[in-house]
């Protein structure tokens, strides 16, 4: 093999590995989210999660959702799991550039558990830790659609913290709508 061929081969291999490195983690994050979601559902419903239901984002909901997220939801319906007064929501919100997937368990109108299922941003990963997510436990959503407690921020993770707070409010809002419709 001549040196030119070897050089071309090396460059191609480098580009291919770069492409692989770029495309694989995104799907890997989806797989991580899927596995974490399964785990969350198993723990929330003692191993036997119910059949998922869907909540359509109708006109009335759309307005409130926009108020909470400060943008449209981006999809027409949202999937959730329900057993009695307990519901589980898996929602996504962009931190700075990439979506953060969060699983939220709500029982009788209060957050029972909040887990970051997949974190794709390069900064602000501290929001995945229990010391932060534990602050949401017991949080409720009063009529003003703001959390009934102060969530302490993390310096350097402002946007991720903001995204998680929005998702917590959204899940509580969806839960209230589902429970009200029953």
């Amino acid at each position: 093999m001549s040196s030119v061929h070897l050089y071309k081969w090396l460059i191609s291999a480098l580009l291919a590995s770069l492409l692989f490195a770029v495309s694989v983690p995104a799907r890997a994050d989806d797989l991580t989210a899927a596995a974490a979601q399964e785990k969350l559902l198993a723990s929330a419903f003692q191993g036997a999660p119910p059949v998922p239901k869907t909540l359509w984002i109708n006109k009335a909901l759309k307005k409130d959702v926009k108020k909470i997220l400060r943008h449209d939801y981006g999809a027409l319906r949202v999937r959730y799991w329900q057993q009695g007064a307990r519901t589980v929501w898996v929602l996504e919100e962009i931190g700075k550039y990439k979506p953060i997937t969060v699983g939220i368990v709500i029982n009788e109108g209060a957050i029972e558990k909040l887990d970051v299922l997949a974190y794709r941003e390069s900064h602000g990963w501290e929001v995945r830790h229990d010391f932060f997510t534990h602050q949401f436990i017991g949080a409720r959503l009063p009529k003003n659609k703001k959390l009934d407690r102060k969530i302490d921020g993390i310096s350097g993770a402002t946007l991720s913290v903001r995204a998680l707070k929005k998702l917590a409010r959204l899940a509580l809002y969806f839960d209230a709508r589902v429970q009200a419709n029953e």
């Binding site: 797989l31 989210a33 899927a34 550039y97 997937t101």
Partner: protein, 218 residues
């Protein structure tokens, strides 16, 4: 000497004014990109597609759903109908119609449901989607999708950044912006030199006037 310096200071000032404006406006917009939502907005068009050489890294592939409906993926974007494409990490492992007339497709980790026009209905984590065999894309479908892919635009903040650095205007752009920066440096230096020499002249004139007044009194 000072007259020559002033003349050149004026010339440099006029020449660099356009660049200063471009740099200042784009810099200001970049600073406010997030509150203005410029990182979420996209700008398309032929000029943008041409400037960014938007050719896909991978060949389009897709699945046919009965009639003439195709679900096509190009570089992590899935085109279903006329609605905006849906982002999904490659590879696309299959597509099917749901019982309620919607369209489902998956990468084996996440399933996406859309309407027939491609409007996103929902997306959820799912690793149970049935893998199907990709079809041979007809030329007209491939060309239509590629035309949409190339015309999808770029984020406004990226375009602003590239105008700011000059990269938007091709290979010569950064050199022109570099030259503009050099002109700005020259402008500042010539301004400082003119200000200091003018001060020296004024002080000397004042001193001479004072001396003349003193000698008259004496």
């Amino acid at each position: 000497m000072s007259r020559v310096l002033f003349r050149w200071h004026r010339r440099i000032g006029i020449t660099s004014a356009v660049f200063v404006l471009v740099l200042a406006v784009t810099g200001l917009l970049l600073l406010l990109a997030q509150p203005l939502g410029l990182d979420q907005k996209t700008i398309g068009g032929e000029l943008v597609a041409k400037s960014y050489n938007q050719t896909p890294k991978s060949a389009p592939m897709g699945y046919q759903l009965g009639d003439d409906k195709w679900v096509v993926m190009v570089d992590g974007l899935v085109y279903v109908g006329d609605a905006s494409p849906t982002a999904l990490a490659p590879p696309l492992i299959g597509a099917s119609k749901t019982d309620d007339g919607l369209i489902a497709f998956s990468n084996g980790a996440q399933t996406v449901i859309t309407r027939r026009d491609g409007t996103l209905v929902e997306r959820y984590a799912d690793s149970t989607f049935q893998k199907t065999r990709a079809g041979a894309l007809p030329n007209d479908v491939r060309e239509k999708v590629l035309a949409r892919y190339q015309g999808r635009g770029m984020s406004a903040s990226r375009i602003l950044l590239d105008i700011h650095t000059g990269r938007f205007f091709g290979k010569a752009g950064p050199w022109v912006m570099g030259l503009a920066s050099a002109l700005l440096i020259l402008l500042s230096l010539s301004g400082i030199v003119m200000w200091s020499t003018a001060g020296q002249r004024r002080r000397r004139r004042e001193r001479l006037q004072k001396q003349a007044a003193n000698s008259k009194i004496g």
